[in-house]
């Protein structure tokens, strides 16, 4: 297994926030952790990213124990964290610069990726001058440049309107395919989880616990308008049932 966590638990002031979370992310797959607000999604995210230490359990990357250690996975927090004083391009290349590349080198390297991310025209603008969708794409490109084997995304598209979101999903799927990404999503959006993932974990309750997992139709065998298809509706129905929202 590329990336996994076993029996993750976290307590705040003596009360459990999440309990016994087990997740698996195979190589080049896309997995979602789906759940309503208040079930500890971001708590799990921070633990997986290594910026928070769990009170129990372990996080593993290719079997190696990386619990509580930052710097092993690429991640993008809910807030895009683009720096207002850096241009879009200079925000994107930050991981490369910190990694020791020269500014010129990094800019040239990143320049080749800008068109694919729809950012060619705004490379030299400041974050406040671009749209929400562009900000998310810029933050995503910065995340890719962290260049770790796993990408964690915490509700990356939740600030976008539904139509822009569908565009972004399609775009993301093509990028993920092309770049062979292994991605773990945190989301509260059922449609998003189904659209983007091969496997969906459902997080429920307080303390948050994984109550179900669903294998979805592989991304390769999906039709173009998958989100309006019968397999999509069937998956959504199962998930709604698992969330206690079924008929």
């Amino acid at each position: 297994m590329l990336f996994s966590c076993e029996n993750i638990s976290k307590y705040y002031n003596g009360a459990a926030v999440v309990k016994d979370i087990n997740l698996n992310l195979p190589e080049k797959s896309s997995v979602s952790l789906l759940g309503p607000s208040g079930t500890g999604k971001t708590t799990v995210f921070n633990i997986l990213a290594g910026v928070s230490v769990p009170d129990g359990g372990s996080v593993r990357l290719r079997g190696e124990n990386i619990t509580g250690k930052a710097g092993y996975v690429s991640y993008m927090p809910q807030n895009d964290l683009l720096m207002p004083y850096r241009t879009v391009l200079d925000n994107i290349i930050l991981p490369l610069i910190i990694g020791g590349q020269s500014k010129k080198e990094a800019r040239e390297y990143a320049g080749d990726f800008l068109p694919k991310f729809g950012l060619a025209d705004c490379a030299h603008k400041y974050p406040r001058q671009i749209s929400g969708g562009m900000k998310q794409r810029a933050a995503l490109l910065r995340t890719f440049f962290m260049d770790k084997p796993v990408i964690l995304l915490d509700e990356p598209f939740s600030a976008l309107d539904v139509i822009t979101k569908i565009h972004m999903h399609k775009w993301f799927l093509s990028i993920a395919e092309e770049m062979g990404l292994s991605t773990l999503f945190i989301t509260h959006d059922i449609d998003e989880a189904i659209s983007l993932s091969d496997f969906v974990y459902i997080l429920q309750g307080s303390p948050g616990a994984v109550c179900a997992g669903f294998e979805l139709l592989p991304r390769k065998s999906r039709e173009k308008d998958f989100i309006a298809s019968a397999p999509f509706a069937a998956a959504k129905k199962e998930i709604l049932n698992a969330l206690g929202l079924g008929a």
């Binding site: 991640y75 964290l81 910190i98 990694g99 406040r128």
Partner: protein, 257 residues
């Protein structure tokens, strides 16, 4: 954005401050000419302008002296502010220990320590620069410390995950993020600097606007007194404008308001 905002403000409103000042000057002229107040006590605006023109070469030299003292004091204050703020930010214990002392330096009135500084350092430029330094470094330091403390913790974590060193976190996150607060502090410091220079010059020296002020006061030249006061105010204003100009040029990303 600024253009839009400005075009919304009617011309009437933009003219208002200028008109009010013009009206007040006219009133002042009227009061002096009418003889309500003796001319030697309240010289007319015209007399002040005349005095300013008559002494312009002398005042120009004094202005340069005061300005150079202010700039030297400010630059030293800025350098010290960055060093102190970074040290205090990176060490919580030191922060707790030093902050009350910082605050204390600000509760001592400049006018009270100025004579001491002159006694210690003589009549040269040193006590002036020292007083300016003491009054100016505080607003800049406090601005920087506050901004450092407000740095987004998630952003720090993200940079750490990218492998950033402590130094890189300052270079890419804390320092650029603190620039608006730095300039806000610097604007205040800039206005303090001229006042500080003048106060220090009152107590002795060979040149400077404060020295000139003391001299004309002793000879009851009220017109010259007013002239130098105007010049001092103009100098403070010019220095603040310069800081604002530098801020706009060096922080192009800032939203104009």
């Amino acid at each position: 954005m600024k253009k839009n905002a400005q075009s919304i403000i009617p011309d009437k409103q933009r003219l208002a401050p200028g008109l009010l000042i013009a009206a007040l000057i006219a009133l002042w002229q009227l009061v002096s000419v009418s003889g309500l107040v003796p001319a030697f006590m309240l010289p007319s605006p015209l007399a002040v302008v005349k005095a300013l023109r008559a002494d312009i070469s002398l005042l120009g030299r004094d202005l340069l002296v005061t300005l150079s003292e202010a700039i030297i004091g400010l630059v030293l204050a800025i350098v010290a502010a960055f060093i102190i703020a970074i040290i205090m930010d990176s060490n919580a214990l030191l922060n707790r220990a030093v902050f009350p002392l910082l605050l204390f330096t600000q509760t001592v009135p400049a006018i009270a320590i100025a004579p001491l500084l002159v006694l210690w350092m003589g009549y040269g430029i040193a006590p002036k620069v020292a007083l300016i330094f003491l009054t100016c470094f505080f607003p800049v330091t406090v601005g920087l410390i506050g901004a450092f403390a407000q740095t987004d913790k998630e952003a720090v974590q993200l940079l750490r995950s990218m492998g950033a060193s402590q130094w890189q976190i300052y270079a890419y996150l804390k320092l650029p993020g603190a620039m608006p607060a730095f300039f806000a502090g610097l604007r205040i410091a800039a206005s303090y600097s001229i006042v500080g220079a003048v106060i220090a010059e009152w107590l002795g020296g060979n040149a400077g606007l404060g020295v000139y002020m003391t001299r004309v006061r002793k000879s009851y030249s009220f017109d010259k007194m007013f002239a130098v006061i105007l010049l001092t105010a103009a100098l403070s204003l010019a220095l603040i404008k310069l800081v604002v100009f530098i801020q706009k040029k060096s922080l192009p990303w800032q939203e104009e308001d």
